[in-house]
């Protein structure tokens, strides 16, 4: 299964590296959202500073929607779905591979956004260990859930609008947990953040297992 996962992840990342859509469009979009937030909330009044963790994660979620739509679209061109079904790759492996590729893209995006927040919002990084673990667990949660829900809507004409409607309510706990953990880290009280990291990890494991189990049904029923 893991060999299959590595194959699929390698393919998705290679396509991404060659097309550079994530790098050239999703990344700039995320930075643009940060700038828009600054317009909406007057930076002079320190609203931005207090809201930084929440704004950061909302931006990550919005950008993740774009990355996930990209990932789902990769599976729809040139009969890739049929080829995958014929390839005898394990569905759980395909799921893991796609989720890993999305996770890798999201991690890069989060680093870029982190720099953006430091430069634009004047955030001072503190509790770096907690920040890093939060990023990894939240990314795993978003990538696994997003890959599962992406498969639910793939191939549909309405998928661009349906994916956010289905996915964002489910990701509400991730936004909550990641934001609280960031607040704790930046506020200098990391002990309060670790339980939220635990929540994110449990969430990631739950949806990874669900996705790996359900992916076969979704591939076959397409």
């Amino acid at each position: 299964m893991w060999r299959d996962a590595a194959l699929v992840a390698g393919r998705d990342l290679r396509v991404e590296a060659r097309s550079r859509v994530t790098l050239q469009q999703v990344g700039p979009f995320a930075l643009l959202v940060l700038i828009l937030f600054a317009f909406a909330l007057d930076p002079a009044r320190q609203t931005l500073e207090r809201a930084t963790p929440g704004l950061y994660w909302v931006t990550v979620l919005f950008s993740a929607l774009l990355a996930l739509a990209r990932s789902a679209a990769l599976g729809e061109t040139d009969g890739v779905r049929d080829a995958l079904r014929l390839s005898a790759l394990e569905p759980a492996g395909v799921f893991a591979g796609k989720a890993l590729a999305v996770a890798a893209e999201l991690l890069v995006l989060e680093v870029v956004l982190g720099l953006g927040v430091i430069v634009l919002y004047g955030a001072e990084p503190a509790g770096v260990g907690l920040l890093a673990v939060t990023c990894v667990t939240a990314t795993a949660a978003v990538a696994s859930t997003g890959t599962l829900y992406g498969a639910l809507v793939s191939g549909l004409r309405a998928r661009e609008t349906l994916l956010p409607l289905l996915l964002l309510p489910v990701l509400a706990p991730v936004l909550l947990g990641a934001t609280r953990a960031f607040e704790a880290a930046l506020g200098g009280a990391p002990a309060e953040g670790w339980p939220w990291c635990g929540l994110l990890a449990v969430f990631a494991v739950l949806y990874s297992v669900a996705g790996a189990a359900a992916y076969g049904t979704l591939l076959e029923g397409s």
Binding site: L152, V153, L156, R157, A158, L162, L165, L166, P169, V170, A172, P173, L176, G177, R180, L199, F203, L206, A210, A214, T217, L218, E220, G221, S222
Partner: protein
């Protein structure tokens, strides 16, 4: 009132043309559901009587407590509907029979109706009691998220898809419904728990006497309405599936008949042969 009129919801075509195939009923009512509908109406009348006339106003909440006789039961049946959807989705994934698919659809749709009643009565009650229509209480927030999830689920169902592919997708989505709700509820509860106690807990009261009777009558009336709606919605979904299948079978049979027609057929059938 709607009970007896729409009991005859006409599922239309499937019964009429195909006399050879298993005859589908022309409407979703039956003697049992008519009795159920009458009981639902009678108990609703009883609820009006108990809720608005007989039961006394609350010491703290005054007359707004009367909303609770609808609010609490509808929240309960909302969760029951979601449970039906998840259970039926799991059963569909196991058995792959269309009945479970229809039950999952009925549960989600009726559940959404009760979700809207719950949110509506809840915010009307919140205005006089809390001084605001909405507060970020754990239960309110997770009910709102659940409502959006139900809307999303039904949106996926409405899409024009090949029936087999749609059943598999909506079954996976339906299976995740209750687990999603639990995860959202737990995490929101935890989040709000850090700041304040559960706001609603202070109205989880010891109620007694006529107020308790009124609440029980509320559970009975809304329960009967829930059952009545579920049965009818299930039957409509079932008939829709039958109609889909009959339409396809009929079209196939027509085409086959055209193809096997002897060559002395008149011009119009020649023309249709050309397009087929």
């Amino acid at each position: 009132m709607t009970a007896t009129t729409s009991a005859r919801t006409d599922a239309g075509a499937p019964g009429q043309p195909a006399d050879g195939a298993a005859a589908a009923p022309a409407h979703t009512g039956s003697r049992a559901t008519r009795v159920l509908g009458i009981l639902a109406l009678a108990s609703s009348a009883l609820l009006v009587l108990y809720g608005l006339v007989i039961s006394p106003p609350d010491v703290e909440m005054a007359d707004s407590v009367r909303l609770m006789y609808v609010h609490v039961p509808s929240a309960t049946y909302l969760y029951l509907g979601c449970f039906f959807t998840t259970f039926a989705s799991a059963m569909w994934l196991w058995k792959r029979t269309p009945g479970w698919d229809a039950l999952a659809e009925a549960g989600a749709e009726v559940g959404l109706v009760f979700a809207l009643i719950t949110l509506g009565t809840g915010s009307l009650w919140g205005r006089p009691t809390w001084g605001t229509y909405w507060t970020w209480d754990a239960r309110l927030t997770s009910t709102a998220v659940l409502t959006v999830m139900l809307i999303g689920y039904l949106a996926l169902r409405r899409l024009d898809l090949d029936p087999g592919a749609r059943s598999a997708r909506v079954a996976v989505l339906g299976l995740l419904l209750v687990p999603n709700v639990i995860v959202v509820n737990r995490s929101v509860e935890w989040w709000r728990g850090l700041h304040q106690g559960s706001t609603l807990s202070r109205i989880d009261p010891k109620i007694e006497g006529d107020m308790l009777v009124a609440l029980m009558v509320g559970f009975l009336a809304l329960g009967l309405i829930f059952a009545w709606l579920m049965i009818h919605r299930f039957r409509v979904a079932w008939l829709e599936q039958q109609a889909d299948r009959f339409d396809l079978d009929e079209a196939l049979a027509l085409r086959r008949a055209e193809a096997s027609e002897p060559s002395d057929a008149s011009e119009p059938s020649d023309a249709s042969k050309g397009t087929a």
